[in-house]
């Protein structure tokens, strides 16, 4: 059974009394513990896909299933990491991370252990009592990822989580996410418009068309990553220099460029 399933999903938007399609027949499955990146031209509806999996929006046609069941609404089994972090500025780092666990009614001692472990994993030690605005953007996003990871969710939904970060921080966070994903694999749907990020992080990359968005093609990165042994390189730039990486990246770029031209008529 797949962890996330988009089954012929369409989505209409209303504007000025007229409805126009944002998504048209999206078919995509994410297997258990699989990391799938969704790339596409801006406005193609990739964020809408994620928001439907999260339960913030409902499909106009077709079905969005998580764990085999239709998504009922937002909930802690489908944790979201937002581009703009969306932390609670009035809560400390530890309280931000604890909030979801308190909602679950977890007892304080167990909660403390879980929080301590995730804070260590995310490299947030020493910042437990800081407020979000005292941290850099990269550190704030670590808190947001910790807040999602600590719930031990069925799926993790990441909506351009590194889009608001500067280039250097972004690279560090990509390496961190790979490190954490190896220690603690999760089912991840990852939205990005950065092709290299998608290829570096994902097991599979799904490319979307211009609006109304559909899945244009899905590339299996996992086989190439294993065959070329990308993981022997600790640094993003070393992986990105490999011929197999460049080849994949260029292929996806070309695929997206076709869409851009098509959309500009």
């Amino acid at each position: 059974m797949s962890a996330i399933e988009f089954d012929n999903v369409g989505r209409l938007f209303e504007r000025d009394g007229r409805s126009f399609p944002a998504l048209d027949g999206v078919d995509l499955t994410v297997a258990d513990k699989e990391f799938v990146a969704l790339v596409g031209p801006s406005g193609c509806g990739k964020t809408t896909c994620l928001r439907m999996a999260a339960g913030f929006e409902a499909p106009s046609s077709g079905r969005v299933l998580v764990g085999g069941a239709p998504v009922p609404g937002p909930g802690p089994d489908r944790a979201v990491v937002f581009q703009q972090f969306a932390l609670f500025p009035w809560k400390t780092v530890a309280d931000n991370v604890a909030f979801g666990l308190r909602n679950k009614g977890m007892a304080a001692p167990e909660r403390r252990d879980r929080i301590a472990a995730i804070i260590k994993l995310m490299g947030l030690d020493g910042y437990e009592t800081a407020f979000p605005h005292q941290l850099s953007g990269g550190m704030q996003q670590r808190v947001a990822i910790a807040r999602a990871y600590v719930l031990d969710p069925q799926v993790l939904l990441m909506d351009e989580p590194f889009g608001a970060l500067d280039a250097q921080t972004r690279v560090v966070m990509q390496e961190e996410l790979v490190r954490i994903a190896r220690i603690n694999p999760r089912t991840v749907l990852f939205i990005t418009h950065a092709v290299e990020e998608a290829v570096y992080l994902a097991d599979r990359v799904a490319v979307m068309t211009q609006r109304p968005g559909r899945i244009k093609e899905v590339l299996d990165v996992r086989a190439i990553r294993a065959a070329e042994n990308w993981d022997r390189h600790a640094r993003v730039e070393d992986v990105m220099d490999l011929e197999s990486f460049v080849h994949l990246r260029t292929h996806i770029w070309r695929s997206l460029r076709e869409e851009k031209v098509g959309g500009e008529r």
Partner: protein
């Protein structure tokens, strides 16, 4: 920087006081029958503080006014903040309440005074009612605006984390709207003092407004000024207390600097 600003402020006030003393007592440019000298002001202050004026001392009048302001303000905040939260959160509640609000809001709070006196007489209840009407509006409107202004992502994050309704209100909506709620409370407090003095001027048995009223009838400008200064001082003091509460209530803003 701060100290040089303080110096300029102190110097300005000192100059004005000196000018006041010179114009009234040395050159006689200002007629002291219309505008009292600093010495007359001081004597009137001593009189009301010790022997009393208008059936009470400065302290008893002040405490009476302060009590009414605190009561009216507290009731207004206790009703206004929850109502603003409800209207901000629920479109249905807003649709229900807003028309009534729009109907009542254009009526200046002071216009309620005659009705309040007819209904409740010259006692405390009428004053509290008028203060309530004045202080209620800014509390509701600013709380409402504060809730409406919350970043949608933050509310989505709370829903994604499985937050129950009560905890959402207490731990997300209230703190997120807190800066606006306190803006509302500051305006409410100001409105409370304004309307209290107005209501006491129209008719009261005790209070700082009554001091002003009696002093006016006695043609006693020095005592009028003492009354004005007392209202100003209490307004300032209560605003300071609210500022301390505000800083304590929002520790995450204190470390921003």
């Amino acid at each position: 920087m701060q100290t040089s600003r303080d110096w300029i402020g102190t110097a300005t006030v000192a100059s004005l006081l000196a000018l006041w003393a010179v114009l009234t007592m040395v050159t006689g440019t200002i007629d002291t029958l219309r505008f009292p000298s600093p010495v007359q002001f001081w004597q009137s202050l001593k009189q009301i503080a010790t022997t009393g004026y208008a059936d009470g001392t400065l302290l008893s009048h002040s405490l009476h006014s302060l009590k009414l302001v605190i009561m009216g303000f507290t009731v207004a905040a206790a009703v206004g903040i929850p109502l603003g939260l409800l209207m901000g959160w629920s479109r249905r509640a807003e649709a229900l309440i807003n028309p009534v609000f729009l109907l009542v809001r254009p009526i200046p709070p002071l216009a309620w005074i005659p009705l309040a006196i007819l209904w409740l007489g010259l006692g405390d209840a009428a004053k509290i009612m008028v203060i309530f009407f004045a202080a209620f509006v800014p509390s509701v409107i600013n709380t409402f605006t504060g809730v409406r202004g919350i970043e949608p992502n933050v509310i989505e994050a709370a829903r994604m984390l499985g937050t129950g309704r009560w905890r959402l209100a207490r731990e997300v909506l209230v703190p997120a709207a807190a800066p606006m709620i306190f803006t509302g409370l500051r305006l409410s407090l100001q409105a409370s003092w304004t309307t209290l003095v107005a209501a006491e001027l129209v008719g009261a048995l005790a209070g700082l407004g009554r001091v002003l009223n009696v002093a006016q009838q006695d043609i006693y400008p020095a005592m009028v000024m003492v009354g004005m200064a007392a209202v100003g001082a209490w307004g300032w003091a209560t605003t300071r207390v609210l500022a301390v509460v505000e800083a304590r209530a929002m520790p995450w803003l204190a470390v921003r600097a």
